[in-house]
Amino acid sequence: MKKLVALMLAATMTIATFVGCGASNKEEKHASTGSKVFVFGDTTFNAENEEATIDPHDTYCGWPAVRYGVGETLFKFNDSMELEPWLAESYENVDDLTWKVTLKDGVTFSNGNVVDAEAVKACIEDLVAVHERAAGDLAIDSIEADGLTLTIKTTTPKPTLINYLCDPYGAIIDVTAGNEGGIVVGTGPFVATDLVTGDHINLVKNDNYWDGDVKLDEVKVITISDGDTLAMALQNGDIDAAYGMAYASYPIFENDDYTFTSTSTSRVFYLQMNYNSDIIADDAVRAAIAMGIDKESFVDTLLNGYGYVGAGAYPDSFPFGKGVNVQTYDPEGAKKVLEDAGWKDSDGDGIREKDGKKLSINWVSYPSRQELPLLAESAQASLNDIGIDVQLNITPDHGTIVSEKDGWDVYGAAFVTCGIGDPMYFFSTHCLADSTKNRGSYSSTDLDALAAEMNETFDTDARSDIAIKMQQQILDDNAFVFCSFLKMSMISKANVTGLVAHPCDYYEITADLDIE
């Protein structure tokens, strides 16, 4: 009898649990206020991705500032990554060192202050004072402000100055308004009201928006780093749209209730080699790794086809993304390269050795870009086949590990290589002696010479040619392996309009975004 009662109790409790799950009323949420609220789930708004706040003058926080419609830059990129006016109307390259930028009339910050040359000057001066990467990119000597005209002088010729000003760190903010808690005052369609790093940011409509009417009243961006939670949040209706959905979840949303917006981007999933490691410093090992990664299967199968196989640092939609020669997947060739270099499997465990040292590499990567663990695990198997043992260390703490010289061999990461529409960006950030992301201490005199030439070249076609040579150099050295490019997708409920994926991955929440 007792058993029967217990059984019934257990059954009732189980049923009650499931009933509890289904009872949420999805429509109730916004009915009380009558205002249009859009909830956006994002995987990357957190400290792990150097996006702790929306202050563009802090690391990569300019990205959320621009993505979430708080900050706007002087110029913006169109779908072909060409410059278009935004806060500025036009620019003129007076001479090698001088640029004149004319601002639009009538632009205001969300607090009502006017955006004139003086305000922009104050913003850029603050930026280069506190932001190391921006200071290096822009090389600003002096800025003169006169009404709506800004005259910028650089210390060295900067052919891509205007492009660099379109990097999200160039979002124009009102520096007199401060940045309490990482919240800044920008010119965009939305105003941040509340921000908790790694959790959420709340935005309200900017009533003073200079460029037309803003359709939504409120936007809530929630950080959901876990792919499954993100998928379930969209299914439950807790969020209206999602960025960074796991590929394995795509089939759930491929129906009429949801809309996909996709575009090819220059976000590359790449490997960076650590030259400080004895094993990696061996040319044969780097070549074997480059030959031992099956990029096509990775893209077709593990990314469900949502990507493009990588060759050089740029996708072939760019003029400088074509014409590089790259190692193809060739396990037999890789074995031979290793064999010739003296790496042989003498003890029969399947892993090669040389001078008593096992060919074991420490592969560091991070989980917040879901492609990276997939790449790591598939490479682990294919490299194992050619006799390379791969120890994976996939951790949110990757930054600390690769900032050290030792303790890692290969770093699998993601990077937008052409974020400013110009090919110098990847090289200046990753490949030169003073590059902030040259974690593996790569150095090549040939590349340095080409970089110097590039810095003096203003002609776009000539820059493309140099960029192709530079890519060939790093590919010949096997200092980097470019595995695939992201086909970026955002998934929204069918009633969301105006959410459009952009090739540079900067512009997401705009004045046009609406929910019906």
């Binding site: 792919g227 499954d228 998928a231 796991a246 394995a248 979840s249 089939p251 759930i252 099956d294 299967s297 990775f298 077709d300 199968t301 593990l302 663990p373 997939l374 790591a376 695990e377 598939s378 682990q380 198997a381 294919s382 194992n384 994976l392």
Partner: protein, 270 residues
């Protein structure tokens, strides 16, 4: 009836252990061989439990994963039951300062939620199945030392122990000849019942990424990897899940029947 039950569950438990030991020869496919052209195949006659994202045969991975999960669990339970019992007996038999210190340490361990403490230890030691075993061993021994100490205290003052002492037995002889044989039954029952719990905790650590590291097949980490496929490719997560479920149930029922067989008192409560 009781005996029949014991035999059935002992047989099933033994079967699981045997499968774990001979896993290498039972796998129809290489559990680590990736074949991206065969990824996400639904269960069929070719792949009984389907394939995962990398095209690896799930059935082979579940079997080889059992080797890690079950053998690591048995080792873990072995370590904690032996060490815990030794500590408990010493503490109970000698008493005094030793007893006080050991029992306060075990109080400390018992005061923490087990998995949380294990998480912290595993995080310090780094990933890997053996580090997870160490982490769980560090937190789980007090259960045994408590039981052993309590029983030792009650036996130590009994007349036959006093008689043995008068007959000239030293402390180690007393422990070996009179105390240990009398407490081994309850310890064994505790250990049997503990196998299921430990298997879950070990899988839990792996699920959270602190146990087995890729590409090692282990039930907890396999479930964790398959999590995002619960709605789209459910077999990837259900196969190891069901394996954990079945093993835990069998070891728990086996533990129950062993208790019923060894401990005559439990009959009265029925």
């Amino acid at each position: 009836m009781k005996k029949k039950k014991l035999i059935v569950f002992a047989f099933l438990a033994l079967l699981i252990v045997l499968v774990a030991i001979f896993a290498k020869w039972l796998c129809p496919y290489d559990p680590y061989e990736q074949d991206l052209s065969a990824s996400y195949q639904a269960p069929s006659f070719i792949h009984v439990m389907g394939t995962d994202a990398y095209g690896r045969d799930m059935f082979s991975r579940v079997i080889i994963g059992g080797q890690v999960s079950i053998l690591a669990t048995l080792l873990l339970v072995g370590i904690i039951s032996i060490s815990g019992t030794c500590i408990g007996i010493i503490s109970g038999f000698f008493g005094g300062t030793v007893d006080m210190i050991v029992m306060r340490i075990s109080d400390l361990c018992l005061a923490f939620p087990g998995l949380v403490f294990a998480l912290a230890v595993a995080a310090i030691l780094g990933g890997g199945v053996w580090n997870a075993v160490v982490a769980l061993a560090l937190i789980s021994w007090p259960k045994y030392s408590r039981v052993a100490r309590g029983l030792t205290l009650s036996i130590k003052d009994s007349t036959y122990v006093a008689a043995a002492r008068l007959a000239g037995d030293n402390s180690f002889q007393l422990i070996g000849r009179h105390i240990l044989p009398n407490i081994i039954g309850p310890i064994l029952v505790t250990a049997m019942l503990d196998i299921g719990t430990m298997m879950m905790e070990l899988a839990g650590l792996s699920f959270l990424g602190l146990g087995a590291q890729p590409p090692v097949a282990e039930w907890g980490s396999m479930m964790s990897n398959g999590r995002s496929m619960l709605q789209t490719y459910p077999w990837v997560v259900l196969s190891p899940g069901i394996a954990i479920f079945i093993s835990v149930v069998i070891f728990n029922l086996f533990g129950d029947t062993v208790r019923d067989a060894i401990d005559p008192k439990s009959n009265r409560t029925k």
